[in-house]
Point group: C2
Chain length 142, copies 2
């Protein structure tokens, strides 16, 4: 059992970027199902094989690096609403957190080579994409 800490660190290398009309955090929807526009994931040619089985209709989880977030924030007023009590960030979806990884559920609209068009992505234009995973169905369909 590991109970001590060092200062280990791991290096993330983006596999792509978000291309979106959203450029301003203040006006962007807080979650993808709250009015996000259509966006594109533009992948690095080096990971082409990893996306070769994506197709229109797929439900995906997209992991991003929220590069405009603060990493030194440990508690926030949820959704920026100062009438709500300050809450530890592990109980919120605030982008501000020690490792600002965004988690977005999206639907694939189209695939065009290294470009994947998706619905319901609230990430800002230029946001680095870290990973893409399928939404899991029932255990007997995996």
């Amino acid at each position: 059992m590991v109970e001590t800490y060092g200062d280990d660190a791991y290096l993330l290398r983006p596999v792509g970027r978000v291309a979106s009309p959203l450029t301003d955090a203040a006006s962007a929807p807080r979650q993808g199902d709250e009015g996000a526009p259509t966006a594109w994931l533009i992948f690095d040619p080096r990971v082409e094989q990893a996306l070769s089985d994506l197709s229109a209709g797929a439900e995906l989880l997209v992991l991003t690096w929220l590069d405009r977030a603060r990493r030194d924030v440990l508690a926030v007023h949820p959704r920026g609403d100062e009438t709500r009590p300050r809450t530890g960030v592990f109980s919120t979806r605030s982008p501000h957190r020690p490792n600002p990884i965004g988690l977005h559920r999206v639907r694939v609209l189209a695939v065009d080579g290294l470009r994947v068009e998706v619905a319901d992505l609230e990430a800002l234009d230029g946001t680095p994409v870290l990973d893409v995973k399928p939404v899991l169905g029932a255990a007997d369909e995996r």
Copy 2:
């Protein structure tokens, strides 16, 4: 719109570790709802405030760094079953992928200071924890 690539990289610093009886990837369940044992998340004292609102019963998403995975794998036979066709990793939950971030849905059983006991976590003992997020309810309950 961003359409070119550099070699940007981002540094992850673990916020905690998994303590689990699971030590062997070959015998571990492939998903948390496929027979994973009770485990503990042991947090770094530096993030204590971030977990201050976690409590028993909470449904969480735990993000981990799958430190025993390979990063140079872009396609796999799903679930290691060689009768299934090789599939791009972005269409699978394989731990082997360019940024091996694990995504685990768990339920909090108990909180004891910096130690959080959880059900349904299939991560191996010692796995670095990157982030914890609440499972989102309906849009009008956020």
